[in-house]
């Protein structure tokens, strides 16, 4: 270790500084009143719409059509490994893709330039938080590595209703196993935005400009 000296000195300073410091009593985590399942889902929908992202709730049979609609006029679409086959047709053929959509698999790994050439990406997620309208990816199967949901301009995210939890703490607790396994996380709350010029909100700076959320009713 090159900076053993700095390490030792900082630790010594800290120990001297915290000598006799009391560890405070930590109060219980405050929780909001419990909502019904339907209210949780409605809260989530409200938040997603508030972020001006697309939202649609469909039965399992309607996912395929909803995905196609959400892709809009995208031509080149990235599909991560492990995406639920039921969200896409068995063969990515002309029946489903009348306008001959180009489907990019990340196998072998797409280069940054190839990703930059894609218009959209379709993924699932690990968990979603209703109160804040936050979608969380742990980049497991069906979610792709981090760059896939970052570079293309449209992100279509398919969420099972049972993945939506009421609050931030519920989400954090649900993610603990993934984090302890070393997986990275991406939290999304709406699309890319900035308010740096005269506080005027501009949507779509570097991340995807369009987020379209499809919730599958359980």
């Amino acid at each position: 270790m090159s900076n053993a000296e700095a390490r030792l000195e900082i630790l010594t300073r800290i120990n001297r500084a915290t000598q006799g410091a009391q560890t405070p009593q930590r109060p219980a985590y405050p929780r909001a009143a419990t909502q019904s399942r339907e209210d949780v889902l409605l809260t989530f929908e409200d938040r997603i719409l508030d972020y001006r992202a697309g939202f649609v709730r469909v039965p399992a049979s309607g996912v395929r059509g909803a995905v196609r609609a959400a892709l809009g006029d995208a031509r080149r679409v990235v599909v991560p490994d492990g995406l639920d086959a039921a969200w896409l047709p068995d063969s990515l053929d002309a029946a489903w893709l009348p306008d001959s959509l180009d489907v990019l698999r990340d196998e072998p790994t797409l280069t940054h330039a190839e990703l930059d050439g894609a218009d959209a990406v379709v993924t699932g997620c690990a968990v979603a938080v209703a109160r804040t309208g936050t979608i969380i990816l742990d980049h497991g199967p069906g979610q792709g590595r981090r760059a896939l949901t970052l570079v293309p301009d449209t992100h279509v995210c398919v969420i099972h209703a049972h993945q939506i939890v009421p609050d931030v703490l519920d989400g954090v607790q649900a993610l603990a196993p993934a984090v302890r396994a070393g997986q990275p996380l991406t939290w999304l709350s709406g699309g890319s935005a900035t308010s740096d010029i005269e506080l005027v909100r501009v949507e779509g700076v570097h991340g995807p400009r369009h987020l379209r959320v499809i919730v599958i009713s359980d």
Binding site: I10, R131, T132, Q183, I197
Partner: protein
């Protein structure tokens, strides 16, 4: 201004700023807008006060056991394939970043907005090594291209209006199309300029909002996606974090993800947050360095009253409610940490030894709004008063302390006070112009430097009270 060291005292620096009407108008608009939005975002959570108490206790707990937490963080980051470095001061931290860049033969790197990197004056140091650091946050890019310095923690270019940014981008980004002054058009120009940089640059530098000791997870909170770009596309990532940013366990992240966005941008949640633990094979940078920075923090930690300053999560809520910040603007504080939090943090990080920084605890009306707004309940007014005492104690006997002693004597007996008021009324004659006192002599001049004073009235309350008719007004 650069780093932590103010070039002037606060009263000197504020004088120019309070006389800039454009700046004051910009600031007023921003602070009032965010203030109102924030109250709405906070009001949505009925248990906000309990969250604040928990946030404060969670940080205090980590700080009370700081060496254990940092050692745990070090070993968990290493276990995930990351490298951990320790930097006693700014110079060591800068040198570490430059070494890593040189080791990879890098002459250009991309940066996520990081106030800690501004604190250590990283960009200038890298320049001296022939390494150009490109800021990728829109506001930081504006500040960098105009060779300016940030004036707000959250919206660093808030002192610039769209016309200035339009002229800047047309000049600096060499856009073939002439850009209009529409914020969306200007943001689009930044997007085009930075896109190739994101896709091709091999190294990135970031700060860290939080780091989790037990899992080795580092976190960056942002809005634009420039953070995600820097954190995932390059091959090498270096994150510089103050040692006070460490949390004990993964579950501790929750309360801060509730407190921070609502306090800072007044959103329920910011658009993007990235968490990573060391390196992930096949995903993101395959080399990760975490630099743990002291740079005065252990001094703050050693002070029982000042210690709470280290709870700060850099949300900037205190700036937006501060009447002094609203008028003086961020540059007047002369440090990368402006506003009420800067007034307590900057002098402490400089060991209470910097003459100019030691004027910062005076930059407050002690109205207490900053304490009410602070999501981790830092009692900023308490620390301000305490630091003023520290500064004064360091001065020994001064003209000011003698004057204060005389005041104490005069005010301790009613008859002495009445006599003093009469004396002052006679003495003020030459100072009054058009019913106002605009300049006081000597030591008292500080009071009238940026405000006028009403003269003593012809009759004091005590005189009126004595003369009034019993049972009615005189």
């Amino acid at each position: 201004m650069s780093g932590l060291h103010p070039e002037q005292s606060f009263p000197q620096a504020a004088k120019a700023e309070v006389n800039n009407p454009q700046l004051r108008a910009n600031l007023r608009k921003v602070t009032t807008t965010i203030r109102e939005k924030r109250l709405k975002a906070v009001g949505e959570l009925p248990h906000w006060e309990e969250l604040r108490v928990l946030g404060a206790a969670t940080k205090d707990e980590a700080l009370a056991n700081l060496s254990d937490r940092l050692l745990e963080l070090e070993s968990s980051v290493r276990a995930r394939g990351g490298h951990v470095h320790w930097a006693r001061d700014a110079a060591e931290a800068r040198e570490l970043v430059a070494q890593i860049a040189r080791g990879h033969g890098v002459t250009e790197l991309i940066k996520v907005k990081s106030i800690t990197s501004d604190e250590i004056e990283l960009n200038a140091a890298l320049d001296a090594h022939g390494i150009h650091a490109i800021e990728t946050d829109l506001a930081e890019l504006i500040v960098q291209l105009s060779r300016d310095t940030p004036s707000h923690i959250l919206v660093p270019a808030i002192h610039r209006n769209r016309a200035e940014i339009q002229a800047l981008f047309n000049r600096e980004l060499g856009d073939p199309e002439h850009l209009s002054d529409e914020p969306a058009v200007l943001a689009g120009a930044a997007r085009r300029y930075l896109r190739q940089k994101f896709l091709t640059t091999r190294m990135a530098v970031s700060g860290a909002n939080f780091a989790v000791a037990d899992t080795g997870t580092v976190c960056v909170v942002e809005s634009e996606g420039n953070g995600r770009m820097c954190l995932t596309l390059p091959e090498v990532l270096v994150s510089v974090m103050g040692i006070e940013k460490v949390l004990a366990t993964w579950e501790d992240v929750s309360v801060f993800m509730e407190l921070l966005p609502r306090s800072s941008t007044a959103e329920r949640m910011n658009p993007y947050t990235s968490f990573w633990s060391g390196v992930t094979p096949g995903d993101g940078p395959q080399e990760f360095h975490l630099i743990l920075l002291d740079n005065g923090r252990t001094d703050v930690l050693a002070d029982e009253v000042g210690r709470q300053t280290l709870r700060c999560i850099r949300c900037s809520a205190c700036l937006n409610v501060c009447p002094v910040y609203e008028r003086a603007g961020g540059h007047a504080y002369g440090s990368v940490y402006p506003g009420p939090i800067g007034a307590v943090l900057t002098p402490q990080l400089l060991h209470m030894q910097d003459k100019n920084a030691n004027t910062l605890p005076g930059a407050s009306s002690l109205c207490g709004a900053c304490f009410d707004a602070c999501p981790v309940r830092i009692d900023i007014p308490q620390v301000l008063i305490y630091l003023r005492g520290e500064v004064n104690a360091g001065k020994g006997t001064t003209l000011e302390s003698v004057a204060m002693g005389a005041m104490r004597y005069a005010m301790s007996e009613g008859w002495r006070f009445e006599g003093a008021v009469k004396l002052a009324r006679t003495g003020q004659g030459p100072l009054v112009h058009d019913g106002q006192i605009t300049a006081l002599p000597g030591l008292l001049g500080g009071w009238t430097q940026s405000r006028d004073l009403n003269p003593f009235p012809p009759q004091s309350f005590r005189e009126w009270w004595k003369k009034r008719e019993p049972g009615g007004e005189s």
